[in-house]
Symmetry: C2
Subunit: 337 residues, 2 copies
């Protein structure tokens, strides 16, 4: 690993200057460094992030999720075009678990967003976050900071709604948008528990042609369901609406609601409070991940845990006692250092 030198790295200042000038090529290369697992890149990445930090944060961060088939790429393209038309600079970061290994679907996505991707005011980047939740928070999170420092004032973070990355994305965005289809039932199975409660807005997509009546019904059902949820700390009551990305219907309404949300949370102080809370939580999540890594990274611990799991299931040892036993051993092993 150590002998493998990364190619063509510039000095940190070159990336920092380029990002702050809004240079897309430099931005892309800096993101590659953020995503890299090379040790030399890690310190370079740290330096870049540290320096652009004061220039980050000046955007609205929107999480968008929905299962495959809901028309997410088309929606995001049309939504992005709408935002660019309004004068915004839009960065789109896609977290696609299936792309993390093969990168197969990335080209597909890019092709599908071909109208948006040629615009200077839009920046589209699949986010290679690795397999871990920490990867989503850190790599996608830092990529987001870089995009903000490069002048993008709307950040869309896209996930597929079937994994765990939604919680991480919810933890780093201001507004969470859930795309659904009419005909409640089957396709709902794909959405993980808890995602619905995170939504600030549910958009029933593909509300066109024969599907309009069903979509309006679905909208009412979701609206009722969302009302039954406990109020969010933001003071915002989640809304449901219908849209047809392909016919460009209802897209403006989505942005209008986001602006309504922004106005509310700016005025009641939740926006800043939540941002600060998210930043601090980001640190704690990292600390807790590292602590777990220290412990679970040990081969001895791993072997013993699998023994303890068996003993617990067969009622040979209580879960509490098992935990104490292995923590005591962990402490002792540290003292030997």
């Amino acid at each position: 690993m150590k002998n493998y030198k990364p190619k063509k790295r510039l000095p940190a200042q070159a990336y920092i200057d380029g990002i702050l000038k809004g240079d897309r090529v430099i931005l892309s290369r800096a993101i590659t460094i953020i995503e890299s697992n090379l040790e030399s890149d890690k310190s370079l990445a740290k330096e870049i992030v540290q320096e652009i930090l004061p220039s980050s944060g000046k955007s609205i961060r929107i999480g968008i999720t929905g299962v495959p088939g809901v028309g997410k790429s088309t929606f995001i393209e049309v939504f992005g075009l709408h935002l660019v038309k309004l004068g915004h600079k839009v960065a789109i970061l896609s977290i696609d678990p299936s792309s993390q290994r093969s990168r197969g679907s990335i080209l597909g996505d890019k092709t599908r967003m071909d109208e948006l991707s040629v615009l200077q005011e839009a920046y589209i980047r699949p986010s290679a976050s690795g397999d871990t939740l920490g990867g989503v928070s850190n790599k996608t999170g830092e990529t987001m900071l870089l995009c903000e420092a490069a002048g993008y004032d709307v950040i869309l973070i896209e996930t597929v709604g079937v994994g765990q990355s939604e919680t991480a994305v919810h933890g780093m965005t201001d507004f969470f948008l859930l795309l659904m289809l009419a005909g409640a039932g089957d396709e709902l199975q794909g959405i993980k528990k808890g995602i619905m409660e995170m939504a600030d807005m549910v958009v029933i997509n593909k509300a066109d042609g024969d599907n309009i009546t069903m979509s309006k019904l679905a909208k009412r059902q979701y609206q009722n369901a969302l009302h039954i949820f406990p109020a969010s700390e933001s003071g915002w009551t989640p809304v449901a609406s219908t849209a047809s990305a392909i016919k460009n219907i209802g897209i403006d309404k989505v942005w209008d609601e986001i602006l309504n949300f922004k106005k509310l949370v700016d005025e009641n102080g939740f926006f800043l409070k939540n941002r600060n809370h998210q930043q601090i939580k980001w640190m704690y999540n990292n600390i807790n991940e590292e602590l777990k890594h220290l412990f679970y990274g040990s081969k001895n611990i791993k072997r013993e845990l699998s023994e303890l799991e068996k003993d617990i299931v067969t009622a040979k040892i209580s879960p509490v006692k098992a935990a104490q036993q292995i923590i005591d051993e962990f402490k002792n092993s540290f003292k030997l250092n």
Copy 2:
């Protein structure tokens, strides 16, 4: 602390024998040992739990939650009486955050369940879990095991629906029951986010007199909302129903649904699978709590964290860098041992 000797402790075997014989006085004294924070009691508790472990688990564990005013005590009393009438032995463990300091509401609860509390087939115990989630899992969890070993075949664990203990209780029960009132809106504000999605059944209580029409409407609304949720891994579709504890209406229906649930999850294997999963998760939760305790228990760490929080909010340091910095210091401090 060390000089303070606990009074009148028996040898471990006396508690074990007493519990296995179903002796309520011994059971109560053993639970007191479980709840104690004295070091000498902790090892005694560990021995008792270890020995009764093979005799535990033979019950259905039901979590019941709802905000104050929903009529929880009355519901539980009437439900408990119904179960005793059917030949069950019922243990009721109440986790009341307000009682953890003052114990004020405990006597109130006991008085309100006076019909049930005099029966030999019912055992009512406020669970002093302390202020931590770990306390709920460990102390209430181990108390539950003791009750099972003493022959109680239905365990009801009651929480107030406003804190975090619901997640812990959901993680140690087979079936999760949410009590609500008609007139959706105001009182919903009291229920924490996420609790609704854990519910296997929502019961609209106080469905009597003038309130019947509203309650039936509320039932339909919840039924619709529950249907919109993603399917649970149990294969069970959550149900909504109305009840009036005070008039003893709809109580049998609650138990019938729990039996339907039990039949389903016994047949599809989820019951055992979930139990095993819960036990193993219990160990991991303890390990992770202990790891955090090791780290956050340090005064130096605490001081530095509060500095880092300020620096993060003012964009002086990135959350990722802050975490790495403090974890590196933690590792170094260990090496000095």
